[in-house]
């Protein structure tokens, strides 16, 4: 186990190194002058020259990378081109907002997916199974931004149950904060719940056919304890993996959902920074998201090995 964790940590460092090179390269792969690209074609030559000097773009490429990566390791992500605020300060303001949305959405997705997956597996071939499977496939097929717009139209404009968009920190007004979070959390969470429900159904079906389940029934146990106590515990193992691996898609969904619902999280920050060509912010925010994905994948692997000790992890693949 310790060997596995050390090897996996080593791999994580390699991946993060490559990720950092890719993010650094983003500004440099484009044809032409990066400083001109950031400021736009209308900018004066002096402004472009000043930005080039400020960002160190006149240095050799490897030195630029070392300066940038070295700065990040010391917590210096550079400054925003828009208002010169340190990128780290901007990120620290936005990350809690996205974490709040993620926790809400994850909670909602489990609330929908676990019963849907169990019902579909235990009542295979019935109406409930078809209803649950159709929900799962629809949930995967519906684009999160359309779902968001649909929710605003139905629940905010027609029914008036929730405010259409906006954000209030939970410590300022918890009631309003929760009300504002419901629609975006559902918009992101439904897709995740569809993935989890699909996985849980097939995983439950496999477990329900296993010998030890038949033994449990043979011992005289009734449906519920067998399903919850025996089958679900084991069926949840692949679900943990799926949930972890879905984080990348989940964050992608948050990008667009935060834009639709005007939530000032890291997703909206990326979109705004991309549209205004604020590349230090883009680099910082994308690095943060990639870091989150790599760390969660690492933790998922560890959790997977703890949940199912039969899994051999020596290879680390």
């Amino acid at each position: 186990m310790v060997n596995f964790i050390i090897r996996r940590l080593g791999l994580m460092v390699v991946i993060l190194f490559l990720v950092s090179i890719m993010i650094f390269s983003l500004v440099h792969i484009t044809p032409g002058d990066p400083a001109r690209m950031m400021l736009g074609q209308e900018a004066t030559e002096e402004a472009v020259e000043a930005l080039r000097a400020r960002l160190g773009l006149d240095l050799p490429l490897y030195q630029q990378y070392l300066n940038w990566a070295g700065g990040i390791l010391q917590g210096d992500f550079g400054n925003s081109l828009k208002d010169n605020t340190p990128v780290l300060t901007v990120l620290m303001q936005k990350i809690p907002v996205t974490i709040q949305l993620s926790i809400f959405a994850f909670f909602i997705s489990l609330l929908i997916a676990v019963p849907a997956g169990i019902i579909a597996a235990t009542r295979k071939g019935t109406f409930w199974d078809y209803a649950s499977t159709t929900f799962a496939l629809s949930g995967v097929s519906i684009p999160p931004f359309f779902l968001g717009i649909l929710f605003i139209y139905i629940f905010a404009i027609i029914l008036g149950w929730f405010p259409p968009s906006g954000y209030v920190p939970i410590w300022e007004d918890w009631k309003q904060s929760i009300l504002l979070m419901v629609l975006p959390a559902f918009a992101v969470g439904i897709r995740l719940s569809a993935e989890i429900a699909r996985m849980l159904r097939s995983s439950m079906l496999e477990v329900l056919g296993a010998d030890y389940i038949r033994t449990a029934y043979a011992k005289g146990l009734l449906g519920k304890p067998v399903i919850i106590g025996h089958a679900l515990r084991n069926a949840l193992i692949p679900v943990v993996t799926v949930s972890g691996l879905q984080l990348a898609t989940f964050l992608g969904g948050a990008v667009i959902t935060e834009t639709i619902f005007a939530i000032p999280g890291i997703g909206r920050l990326v979109v705004d920074a991309i549209l205004t060509r604020d590349f230090p912010v883009v680099q910082g925010a994308v690095l943060c998201m990639a870091l989150a994905v790599v760390i969660i994948n690492f933790l998922t692997d560890i959790l997977y090995s703890i949940l199912d000790p039969r899994i051999k992890l020596s290879g680390g693949n």
């Binding site: 991946i15 983003l26 097929s141 990348a248 994308v286």
Partner: protein, 300 residues
Amino acid sequence: MSAANPNIEPEIYKPKEISPRKKHYKEMAGRFFKNKLAVIGGFFTLLLILTALFAPVIAPQDPTAQDYSKYLQGPSSSNWFGTDDLGRDILSRIIYGAQVSLQAGLISVGIALAVGIPVGLFSGYYRGVLDEFVVMRITDAILAFPPLVLALALAAVLGAGLENAMIAIGIVFIPNFIRLMRAEVLSQREREYVEAAKASGISDFRVIFVHILPNCLGPILVQATLAIASAIISEASLSYLGLGTQPPTPSWGSMLSTGQGYLADAPWIALFPGIMIFITVLSINLFGDGLRDALDPKTK
């Protein structure tokens, strides 16, 4: 006693021989057509392709023609899906939008396949340092990015527009195909038929492309079908955010973006393109799922 005439061959019933390959395809088609949802998905996918191909014939009006006298009109007999903020016919824009979506789906997945298949093939066949420390680690690194975020960043760097959006989406999908292809090759390379091909002295190139590749195409085909659905959503997302298809070209994503501003007064502007994206993606997913079940019934 009459001896059998050696010149006359006895008439023995010989069943019509079907080659194993033909039989396999027949069984596959049988399994696919038994799956009603897959057939419905396939039907709608075909309908989408025909709509995109014959858009100029089917569309009742010019999708870019503005008519301010028809500003934000609801669905009616002259404009079945209503009109938008510039008085343009939404049905015509949706029909032409199918061209953009289909093009985005096919070309971006085509880019991903063109890179992913050869890299996965060689990486899985030769393995070694290049496979373990270069190809796999680079795919790991690309997969660490949320797909939409990477597509957004690439589209921003390359510049807004449909072509660049397709390239960006294609790049994002490459690692998935490399990994799938590599996994397939790894499962095939130790098989007897590959050993036999190698023993017959043919070049590695022929072993890889003539013998291994055709046996790996099933899962790739399924993955490619499902990736088309994801690519359509990605293109719509980029267009929604202003980095994909640029106006006045009709795109479902940008129509949704425009419609969001008029949700209270003219919900049809956003609802119809949204429904179209949903139906299209659902149909392709149903078709892809059916294809997977038909190719490998064990996964059902």
